[in-house]
Symmetry: C2
Subunit: 334 residues, 2 copies
């Protein structure tokens, strides 16, 4: 009989996440009740937010408790079902956590159609990052045709979608990235108008060349120095959807030298998370799918085939910028 | 013949504003042209924003240039007029700067009716601070009846109006101040529900007692530590109108340990200045007047009768919290 393997939180990390912060637990898989189905997880989404979920701090989700399986979005295949809408062989995605098997009653689960995009894309462009990009840009950033939109972590899972949507709306789009390879990727493959490699040139200097008419929307995935450098270049009544703080380590403060620009240019800085938009997720995914199918939205995933216990080294690649596109673990069958 | 005395910027202050940063200049008063009138300034508004106007930094106004008269809002009496709508003896308010006489064509000048409130109140509750409080609270904070509203610098020119408007709307209102005397004033005279003296108790500790259901709107006049302490107490989808940064000296950074709360609670932090609302100012003043006349809005001014050259010591009282209510200079005739 199958055994469920779970990656559980052993202790809260201080600094970088490491192997010793987790342990593997094996448990039996209980029998299904009516209205339930059993999913075998095949892909697990690796997201910057995970680092926050294992801190002992109140947030939009409760912290993962010690001894509990690590929270995670997955795509898996249904192996048994007593649920009328889910059949054996179907692919499904949802918050099914870092484990080989999960039982679900269908709550906040979406079906995955591999004819529209391969399963890992449902954790990227058609998953949390895509939906986050969609609502942050459209509902908070509110760009208009002709606006200048800047996005940080622009080759990443969220940033790459933000930039492409903004281009689809007729905006001028500038991406901030951490390597020349990524600069080339977002301009040549994704169609951004320009890229700034923050490691090789000061963001402020680059912006004064690239944005003589200043910035309408800055979609912020990183906070920290990038946000501070961009504040003086925001246009009057500019909008900053604040999506992530990948550049700030847990426990570190944000230091903003240009904070006053928020007042002097009447700027709106607004945090949000995907779960604010739960009732509208289907609408977003339908539009993302349509753009993808018409070739106006390219998805890229960086799939690492490995075992659950290697999660720490995979997620650390996110923070050092070693991934290329949406980072996904594929659970190895070895 | 009358001579115009002007307080002009000599050099840009480093640190506290001091006497040596300004000089007095005497100039002739030119003859009036058609459509102009001559105002003799009687009262000058002393505002925290003045410290920013003399820095060499782009803002919502251009910086005051070296050798130019200091910018300032005034109330004065018309001594001569070739303008059809302004007559000798009328009182008027507008940006007529730190000088004894000013010539105006009526652009952005409002008439002052001393039967509604005495002239200094037209620089406070019926002037920039009142209008700023009105739009920041109503347009950005958007409180609803029953909401919890917190305001910093709560006994000051803007904060005292914010709190009273919020009370008029049926909110629960907590003010942050810097002395027990001010605590007593805002609760007993202005009708706030509670006060926190940040000098005698940590803001966070006080809020956990006073706001078990957290805060809907934080009207921020100070930034800095108060903002940081309040962030973790903001309710999901809370709003923070960012009006001033009186606690941060020019050139100092904002340091926010709790910046992530903006994301985890989907908070909107939005800067603004009164001039964003120029087309709607009459509407605001009409409503402020009505509240004042019905006794629902109390104004308090701290009028210092002195000479132009004493401006530096008067404004420094603002930042050390020595004023009580709206700080106004009355030009002495001695």
């Amino acid at each position: 009989m199958a055994i469920n393997q779970q990656l559980c939180l052993q202790r809260r990390p201080s600094g970088e996440v490491c192997k010793e912060d987790f342990f593997l637990r094996e448990t039996d898989i209980p029998d299904l009740e009516d209205g339930q189905f059993l999913v075998r997880n095949e892909y697990i989404s690796i997201d910057p937010a995970m680092r926050g979920w294992i801190q002992d701090q109140e947030s939009y989700f409760p912290p993962v408790q010690l001894g509990e399986p690590m929270r995670g979005l997955t795509v898996g295949r249904i192996e048994a079902s007593r649920h009328p809408s889910y059949s054996v062989g179907d692919l499904a995605t949802g918050m099914l956590n870092m484990q080989t098997y999960a039982i679900s009653d269908g709550f906040q689960i979406r079906k995955v159609d591999p004819d529209i995009a391969p399963p890992p894309a449902w954790l990227g462009g058609l998953g949390m990052p895509g939906i986050t990009a969609y609502f942050g840009l459209l509902d908070i950033g509110r760009p208009m045709k002709g606006d200048t939109v800047v996005v940080s972590a622009a080759s990443g899972a969220v940033g790459s979608i933000v930039g492409q949507i903004a281009k689809n709306l007729g905006c001028r789009v500038i991406g901030i990235v951490g390597s020349d390879k990524k600069s080339k990727y977002i301009v040549e493959e994704l169609g951004f108008d320009a890229a700034i490699n923050y490691k090789s040139e000061p963001i402020g200097l680059a912006l004064s060349d690239l944005c003589p008419e200043k910035i309408d929307v800055y979609f912020d995935n990183v906070a920290g120095k990038a946000l501070d450098s961009i504040l003086p270049f925001m246009k009057k009544f500019g909008r900053i959807p604040l999506c992530g703080m990948i550049s700030i380590k847990p426990g570190e403060p944000a230091r903003l030298d240009n904070f006053f620009a928020l007042i002097s240019n009447s700027i709106r800085l607004q945090g949000f998370v995907m779960s604010d938009y739960v009732p509208k997720i289907k609408m977003a995914v339908d539009e993302l799918k349509a753009w993808h199918q018409s070739g106006q939205l390219i998805f890229k995933e960086d799939v690492r085939t490995t075992h659950l216990e290697n999660f720490p080294e995979v997620i650390n690649d996110l923070f050092s910028g070693k991934n290329e596109g949406k980072l996904v673990m594929k659970l190895s069958n070895d």
